[in-house]
């Protein structure tokens, strides 16, 4: 998926560089709101596939509350720190961080809300977070603890990095990872506009 995403980004960027004033391409790319509506409906359908989600929630309540809360709080805090380094306003900086690894949705949402440049930084930082997760999960699970291995993955802990969690942690943490990803994925659409409005 990461490779496909990079290819799509490359094709789009090349099209933009070669035909920046193409009427047809402009119409297609201005319909992002429609694509986002479709994507959100599909995400909702996918979340609905998780049978017995309530039972799983009851069994690991404490971890399921604590892990995503810590990830979200620490990520926003990281966004605050990045604001001082990058010089971006606090609201934009925290909103970039609030993408939480969900590169497709966060990148496009930020493009719509702030602009293409910030949208691309959001996209690339979230994509890098996914790659960073792949590289660090084996070490974190070995030298820290299994719950900490869920942290870099954030929103991707329910899909793309779940395989790494299956390989490097145990069954109980895989459930926590799955639910953590579901909770964070549901939170991202709220968090980005919230950060833009509050900070």
């Amino acid at each position: 998926m990461v490779i496909l995403a990079l290819i799509a980004l490359l094709i789009g960027t090349l099209a933009g560089m070669l035909a920046p004033h193409s009427g047809m391409l402009a119409v297609l790319t201005n319909a992002t709101d429609i694509y986002l509506v479709v994507l959100m409906a599909l995400v909702g359908i996918t979340i609905g596939f998780n049978e017995g989600i309530v039972d799983k929630l009851k069994r690991h309540t404490l971890h399921i509350i604590v892990v995503p809360t810590c990830i979200i709080v620490a990520t926003i805090l990281g966004g605050v720190v990045c604001s001082f380094i990058s010089g971006y306003p606090m609201n934009i900086s925290t909103a970039i961080a609030a993408g939480l690894g969900w590169y497709s949705l966060s990148g496009v949402t930020m493009t719509n809300l702030v602009g293409a440049q910030i949208g691309t930084i959001t996209f690339m930082s979230s994509l890098m977070r996914e790659i960073f997760s792949f590289m660090t999960i084996p070490f974190i699970s070995r030298y820290m603890n299994y719950s900490s291995a869920i942290a870099p993955a954030a929103a991707t802990s329910e899909d793309t990095t779940l395989g790494m969690m299956i390989k490097y942690t145990d069954a109980e943490h895989v459930v926590v990872s799955l639910l953590n990803g579901t909770i964070i994925s549901a939170a991202v659409p709220f968090l980005i506009p919230l950060c833009l409005a509050v900070f």
Binding site: L4, A5, A8, L9, I11, G12, T13, G16, P20, T29, A31, T32, Y35, M40, A41, L42, V43, G44, I45, T46, G48, F49, E51, H60, H63, V66, V67, C70, I71, A74, I76, L77, G78, G79, V81, C82, I96, A97, Y103, S104, V108, T111, A116, G119, T120, I121, T122, F123, M124, S125, R129, F132, S141, R142, N145, S147, S148, A151, A154, D170
Partner: protein, 97 residues
């Protein structure tokens, strides 16, 4: 707000119509829409006249926004699960779960 409504509608639809039967096509559709959205974002970006000059600075910024929030997340989850929830290395001591 519209996006949230759509997500909730999708969730309810999924439960009501038992859509897990078509989970694979739904996954494909999700991937396709995601790729279209990314390509659209790329188009908007590539259309910018000073795109090439901005690219190097955007890469460094992206790295910054990847590393700092990720490291903060790992540190906070470790401190809380290790010292408050008493979770040790390799998921041991799960009595506290």
């Amino acid at each position: 707000m519209l996006y949230i409504i759509c997500m909730v509608a999708g969730l309810l639809l999924s439960r009501a119509l038992r859509l897990e039967r078509i989970a694979r096509p739904i996954g494909w559709a999700q991937t396709a829409v995601t790729l279209i959205l990314i390509a659209c974002m790329g188009y908007r970006l590539g259309s910018r006249p000073d795109f090439i000059h901005e690219l190097s600075s955007m890469g460094l910024m992206s790295l910054l926004y990847c590393i700092v929030p990720s490291v903060f997340s790992i540190a906070l989850v470790y401190v809380v699960t290790r010292f408050l929830l008493k979770e040790k290395k390799n998921g041991r001591n799960r009595d506290s779960w």
